[in-house]
Subunit: 669 residues, 2 copies
């Protein structure tokens, strides 16, 4: 960073300024995120002194090596320039910008004005000849010969039509653009980065379930084999990620009982997040779930159905975890010689030891934690849902995610950090691929509009990929508790259409389990965190059909697989919310109208921003409800909707821009 | 810039993040601007992982040398911290931020919670004793002894009230804050800068006039001696800067005649911006104005009346300028051997040669241009109004302003760049102290509100200091042409109250000269740029009294000497605009209500944001019109105003917060 005025020992003739480059996260400290095949659109303010024409190019390359590839940038308005490049491969791309004063294009532009004013341009033609000769000295082959010949013609005495035509020839302008004088070109002072993930980082559909609840036999402890039998159910609903809470041995010391009572009974199964026992730690499997072979078979069987297994990585241990014996220095010691258990004073969690990231032995600790990710990657796992990353040191995450992705560029990390906004955003900047959000607590129209506008229309979108969960094993929101089945459907549709990535914790969700431990609590009664819950998946009240429909709509409409095009439209009823998404290539557009009131029918007029939907103001268009299959003909921006939550709390319309008219018949003239 | 993940060879235990620092211009590339005696308020997002308490300090120093001085920062909310420091001297200050995890304060906070829950804290007291011992090893003298003694007490067996009181003692907390463990402290990655100017950079009142029009004798060419006689008039109106168009010899070749006709008659005086003749260039004085001694006497005489002379520095020359002979390489040569004159094709300005900033001899050129500023600084000039800086290379400005200010830290540069917004802002970032604005063309309420909100409430305010001109010799806006005297008064009041710095081009302004050269033109008829204009300063229509009153209001109300506190208030009439300013120390508050319609009386209800005015919602307050001397008692946010443009188009109210009530009498109980 130079904050001193230019020294006269530097080159003082670099007259172009490049600033306000977008996208750029924290002055380039962090990369932006894209998925393979996406385009990176780059904008910048580029200008010089005076009125000379400029040339501006976007430079990019992969992995900080090799020659820069140049893409043209074009002037939009108000000194703003734009260019784009495609990121085809996983990994890291760099980009920057270069610009220079283009004397030939300045001359050409001015020549047109002089000719339009019928001025004598004989001296101007000689000036053009000089620019062409200079370019010829940088050109080769036919271009060089052509430029020299053109220059010679312009130098011939007199001023005639041929010379004017030559001077303004657009092919000549194009050739001149290839041989610019870049001696005083200005390069933007930073190389910015793009992390390129696989498409699933952007578009994914998650189902969370507790393997131990999946047994067919009543009361039995479910196993990975039972999970395998559950795969068709999960795949049938259209999920492509099956996320399992920690699968490691569960500690016995201070084990919690059902409903989180402090003392477990002899048959209580304990919390999967109480990791570690004499049977092993973060690289071991809880014996009651099966063997490593069973797990690997589950991973393969899931893959056969288009499902990836996501593991929960929770870096905390029980007093029984092998690390406590092998690495006592990784934990904070109390003056009485005991190890410091987890606390949120005055609450104590004596079954959990947090790791001390200030340990002098932090390097060995980091390496061991890295080895946990690499171990499971070795078993075929590429998706990690990381538990409470905000209670571990930030530098560790940047390092370990970089390390794992260096070996496995397709690895996906979902940050489960329900904490303050800036902490959540920082974790995303440090490398987390996806992040949990505040969606569970955003229920009203102003809340949803404000939050998702921030997530999708501000710089946040460049590094933070939301993954929306209407429920989790820790969170049964009041909206679901109070609103019953219509509320579950509304929240499902909102999650699945506001977020290109979303997930549900099932079967609690699709069976509309809305019983809290006590009034005012967001904990489930008989939470699966502490006991086995076997449920009737064939309950006629199950939402599995609507889950299947909404996931099919996501699969078949690219618009729902991206977040950046989210746009809210006005509705004259505060209980109705309306928003749209379109695919980046414009191939699909989806409009959602939802009734946020789970008790009453609401109607209203939506006021669509038709341009953002690619819809002609003058032509009718069809909206086709992908859930209810209804089709409506609309025209113009104002259109009527009515939603009865008992029938369906939302429309998910595919917009079909063209509707048939008499002009479509062959015999119409 | 590091965009690679942390290496394990670095320290991995720095757990705190510092980001989103404000103020910061272009990632710290440019300084922010303040005036001596102002405070710099710095905010940042500062947070760590988990829930540990943090400590955060603002560091500052002057001229990049010496020890950092530390100021405390305090947590506002949502991980946002704030601190401030005062910039007492002219020059350049640096600031940055440092933060660390504070284990003692974490422990103390948690101990309070434990005690409130009536928990056994015997082990916790031992932990506290350990923190105190560690701090003692960093302390000296009485503090060290006290900490060791306190630690010893906490270690004594048992848990009693005395130990609890000791542990929570706020003096102990303060002492502990003085000896923190900063091994893992995080320093913000940049040192940010503040340019500190003298107060006149922020608050100044300009009067522009042509010296040659100041002669008492009819038809005579005015001189610096005539200007001296005009000083009382200028000082009487309350101006503190007298700005003179270029005072150098005027070229003869292609001299323009009256009303800018291409050929001058023998008596035509030419444009002062056509600089250079055989009598000299940028360091010479036009002989008709007087001698260098006359000029220096004018500077001194002005200073005696509290007025500074501002010179117009226009880096362009006529064909007669000495540089053309001495440094032909500083100009672009045409193929016919002639020097390239100024153009805006198809328009030609053959009386002007622009300087070629791409000359190979640019270093000598820069040094000569620097010497122009230093020459006039040697004659006592400290304010430079720079003509068209946007047509000269940006790097030159950053260099030359830095150079001049190194010798003359009080030098003020006003950028006369009427060009595209990003170019204007860039010049301000590069070092221009003040800038002309689009004020002359912002007439409606939405225009004024939007523009001045951008100038005073966005990051723009950190580097761009607006100087507002309702007219200039180049700009007679249509609003003034059409609106006559009421329009002149309205625009005067807007300029003087929206801008802590403003100026008028007189006597054309105060005499309400509103005659354009032709309809649709913003040029004055019989523009002083090309001829001498002698005027009757005692014209009864003159605005000199109102100018005097508004300038006195500015002088007596600190609120009007700052721009950052500008705030607009709603009025239910689109022709009425309402805004306020308060002094940074809250000592004065001014509220302006202006009628933007120069034809009709308008009335309406203003809806004041009372909190921003420091006014109690429940108490009446007095508004005292500093122009018309009317006084009104208002209460609450809604208040009525009516303005007849023929009487006065605006109120400029001083808000007097306390009004007398019966409680003020001695005998009130």
């Amino acid at each position: 960073m130079s904050i001193n005025p230019l020294s006269i020992s530097q080159e003082g003739r670099r007259r172009v300024v490049i600033e306000s480059v977008h996208p750029e996260v924290d002055c380039g400290r962090f990369p932006v995120k894209r998925t393979a095949g996406e385009k990176v659109t780059v904008e910048a303010d580029v200008f010089g002194d005076g009125h000379d024409a400029l040339a501006c190019v976007l430079l990019y390359r992969k992995d900080g090596a090799g020659d820069w590839i140049e893409m043209p940038m074009r002037l939009l308005a108000n000194d703003r320039w734009r260019g784009e490049f495609e990121v085809a491969e996983l990994g890291c791309y760099q980009y920057t910008i270069e610009a220079w004063v283009d004397h030939f294009q300045t001359w050409r532009r001015d020549l047109m004005k002089r000719l339009a004013a019928d001025q004598d341009v004989s001296v101007d033609l000689l000036i053009g000849a000089r620019w062409m000769e200079e370019a010829a000295s940088r050109a080769r082959g036919a271009d060089e010969i052509g430029l020299r010949e053109g220059s010679r013609q312009l130098r011939e005495p007199g001023e005639d039509l041929d010379k004017r035509e030559l001077a303004l020839n657009s092919d000549l302008a194009d050739i001149m653009r290839q041989y610019p004088d870049r001696r005083f070109a200005v390069r933007y002072g930073k190389e910015l980065s793009v992390t390129v993930d696989r498409p699933k980082a952007r578009y994914s559909t998650w189902y969370e379930m507790f393997p131990r609840s999946s047994a067919a036999a009543a009361g039995a402890h479910g196993t990975f084999c039972d999970c395998e039998r559950r795969l068709d159910y999960v795949a049938g609903m259209g999920f492509d990620v099956l996320y399992l809470p920690p699968i490691h041995p569960i500690g016995r010391t201070f084990r919690k009982g059902r409903n989180n009572v402090p003392t477990a009974g002899p048959d209580d199964v304990g919390s999967p997040w109480a990791i570690g026992s004499e049977e092993g730690g973060h690289k071991a499997i809880h014996p009651a779930l099966g063997t490593m072979e069973d797990f690997e078979r589950l991973v393969a069987a899931a893959a056969g159905r288009g499902i990836e297994i996501a593991l929960d990585i929770a870096f905390q241990v029980t007093p029984d975890h092998p690390w406590v014996r092998e690495h006592p220095e990784w934990f904070r010691k109390r003056p009485d010689g005991s190890i410091q258990y987890a606390e949120n004073p005055p609450k104590k969690y004596q079954d959990i030891y947090p790791i001390d990231f200030e340990t002098p032995d932090w390097k060995a600790l980091w390496e061991e934690l890295r080895s946990v990710f690499l171990f499971w990657a070795g078993k075929g796992v590429r998706i990690f849902r990381v538990d409470n990353p905000h209670t571990k040191a930030f530098p560790f995450w940047e390092w370990v995610i970089g390390e794992v992705r260096r070996k496995h560029p397709g690895a996906i990390f979902l940050a489960e950090a329900f904490t303050r906004p800036k902490v959540m955003y920082r974790l995303a900047k440090l490398g987390f691929t996806q992040s949990y959000t505040y969606f569970a607590w955003r229920n009203t129209k102003p809340e949803i509009t404000q939050y998702f506008t921030e997530l999708t229309q501000s710089t946040v979108r460049e590094f933070f990929r939301p993954n929306l969960w209407p429920n989790t094993p820790d969170i049964l929101p009041e909206y679901l508790q109070f609103g019953g089945r219509p509320a579950f459907i509304a929240r499902l549709i909102l999650a699945a259409t506001l977020g290109a990535s979303y997930g549900i914790y099932g079967p609690a969700f699709e069976l509309c389990d809305n019983a809290p431990r006590e009034p005012g609590s967001e904990e489930y009664l008989h939470s699966e965190k502490y006991e086995i819950r076997q449920r009737n998946l064939d309950d006629p009240w199950s939402l599995k059909d609507i889950v299947t429909r909404i996931n099919r709509a996501r699969r078949e409409n690219a618009a729902l697989q991206y977040d950046h095009t989210l746009r809210f439209h006005d509705v004259d009823n505060e209980m109705l919310i309306c928003y749209s998404k379109i695919a980046p290539d414009g191939s699909s557009a989806v409009l959602v109208v939802a009734n946020l009131d789970f008790n009453h029918t609401h109607s209203g007029w939506v006021n669509l921003h038709l341009d953002s939907l690619g819809v002609d103001h003058a032509q009718p268009f069809q909206v086709h409800d992908l859930l209810g299959e209804g089709r409506f003909l609309w025209q113009g921006s104002r259109n009527f909707v009515e939603l009865d939550p008992k029938v369906s709390p939302a429309h998910v319309f595919r917009i079909r821009r063209k509707t048939k008219t008499e002009r479509d018949f062959d015999y119409y003239l």
